[in-house]
Amino acid sequence: MPAPPRIRPAGDRALVVEYGVAIDPATNRSVRALGCLLDGLAHPGLVETVPTYRSLMVHYDPRRVSLSELRRLIDEAHDRLDSVRLPPAKVVDIPTVYGGAYGPDLADVAAYHGLTPDEVVTIHAGSEYLVYMMGFTPGFPYLGGVSPRISTPRLATPRTLVPAGSVGIAAQQTGIYPTASPGGWRLLGRTPVRLFDLSRTPPVLFEAGDYVRFVPVDADHYGTIQNAVEARTFVPVVRPRE
């Protein structure tokens, strides 16, 4: 049983329920489990829960649930944390072209660590990354667990425009830009897969608690997948996590 969370007000319509201050899978699991339990109550005073690395934001309507009742609901959910069965995690393959115009920082990252670009690709594509949370822009996944062998700080000066689908790393995080936006992460490659698509329900390919695996492809394959994505015939490879 995790230690009781620290509960802090975030204004008069939300509480932050903190399970720690660090990024680790166990803390993150507690956050998601609490969210799962609270969502399951379908209480009219609970507006929305938002899981992040280490805390759950609980949005509530003070006219429909009192603070004391809300705290009681959180305490009760916490007591049941170990018994909750989270939705089974899946692993989503993200086909990615590494290097060149697709990943303009690959060579710098390799040089930073005294590796070859191919070694960086092998290391980056060699792990399944936990989706700790989504945020920043619609569909942006915060993926943790980048190997220290390729962990690289952000760019000193962020780019004003990062193309949609760019795969980047920042320290021990890796992520994918769903839409073109400014950004300071080191870009290793790019995927043609749409991470956020309103024609899907939900519009995302994966959620907090799922895993992402990057699969190196060449530029020709990128084009084929891109055509399928545009024709809406692309089906991502999704497996249950062992």
């Binding site: 008069d12 992040t52 839409t179």
Partner: protein, 360 residues
């Protein structure tokens, strides 16, 4: 379906409702009206449900032509609205004739005005909301601000053909001015600041800068000192969170804020005072003062009651409208019930303690 023709989109006019709750876990910002209080008041004035979409109109305001007769209300900032060149009042139910043009002569108070139309702005619902998030082109009218030539669909008027009319008496109409005190709840990361830092935040006056938009309102003033750095492991954000990054300047996170953020948040603006920030213009001065959660909830409740009291649809509370020549000009005062009277009727005790009401 009736519509509104956009003759001029103005500085920034977007479709907004009460926001896109429920998709923050996918990284989708809530958006919605910056001054949700004013939009909801406008909806109540025309008999719309609270969640109906209206137009958020910034500073200069747009120029709009109504294709058919419409029941409308304009709230929030006073941008000097005119119908066919004749001044009309804010914060009251109006009827505009088919072919009439709504325009704005210039800002007199506040920053953002809201237009509600009986039936609501009827753009498609995206993830549960009609609000516009322009950065991702999500929701609203094609995901963007309105511009010349747009034809904005209006829903069927659900409130009936002979709507009740309602006017806010002058002393009830919010005045924004250029200096205000904003009440906050300290936290969630107030402990990341030194005692001096917290003291500075609560003692000093801060000036809104031009680097402000629907994502956040950035203030300038004495730096607020951290004792343990400005960065945290990213966590969730709320409307009104006051983020302080390494430069010590406070940024109030607003409607289009990112769903998560990695900077310390010293405090959060109480819901009842969000309207003050939403209506501030660059150069306006704000002081922050701390209240406890119980006080904030009482103020929230009072603000909600204030909105509930705008009830044109409730029999016995308002009189039938009397139109003069079908114009949008202000109607005889006798056609309206004052909000204070409505509140007194509702509470049944004649209470008119306006000071206790969380008037913006």
């Amino acid at each position: 379906m009736p519509w509104i023709d956009v003759l001029d989109g103005g500085m920034l006019t977007t479709v907004q409702d009460t926001g896109r709750a429920g998709s923050q876990r996918y990284g989708v910002p809530v958006s919605g009206a910056m001054d949700g209080f004013a939009l909801r008041a406008a909806n109540r004035l025309v008999g719309n449900p609270a969640g109906a979409a209206g137009l958020e109109m910034t500073l200069t305001g747009p120029e709009l032509r109504f294709e058919s007769t419409a029941i409308v209300a304009i709230t929030g900032a006073d941008l000097a609205p005119q119908i066919d060149g004749e001044p009309v009042a804010n914060w009251r139910t109006l009827r505009v004739r088919a072919g009439s043009v709504l325009s704005f002569a210039g800002v007199r108070d506040g920053l953002r005005a809201y237009l509600a139309v009986a039936g609501g702005i009827d753009v498609p619902i995206v993830l549960g909301s009609r609000s516009t998030y322009t950065r991702s082109g999500l929701g609203g009218f094609d995901g963007r601000a309105l511009r010349t030539g747009d034809r904005v669909p209006v829903g069927e008027n659900q409130s009936g053909l002979s709507p009740k009319m309602f006017a806010m008496p002058a002393h009830e109409v919010p005045r924004y001015g250029h200096a205000c005190t904003v009440r906050v709840i300290l936290g969630p990361q107030d402990d990341a600041f030194s005692d001096d830092g917290r003291g500075t935040f609560l003692d000093a006056s801060y000036t809104l800068t031009t680097q402000s938009d629907r994502i956040g309102c950035r203030f300038q003033g004495p730096p607020i000192r951290h004792h343990a750095g400005a960065d945290i492991v990213s966590d969730g954000t709320v409307f009104g969170a006051i983020q302080v990054s390494g430069d010590g300047m406070p940024i109030v996170l607003m409607a289009d804020r990112g769903t998560t953020g990695g900077y310390t948040k010293i405090a959060t603006v109480i819901t009842a005072d969000l309207t003050k920030i939403a209506q501030a213009i660059p150069g306006d001065r704000v002081r922050f003062t701390a209240v406890d959660l119980e006080a904030a909830h009482t103020l929230f409740d009072q603000q909600e009651s204030w909105l509930d009291a705008i009830d044109p649809g409730e029999a016995g509370h308002v009189e039938e409208a009397v139109f003069e020549e079908d114009s949008g000009a202000p109607l005889a005062a006798g056609g309206y019930q004052s909000l204070a009277d409505a509140l007194a009727d509702r509470h049944g005790d004649g209470s008119r303690d306006r000071d206790a009401r969380s008037k913006p």
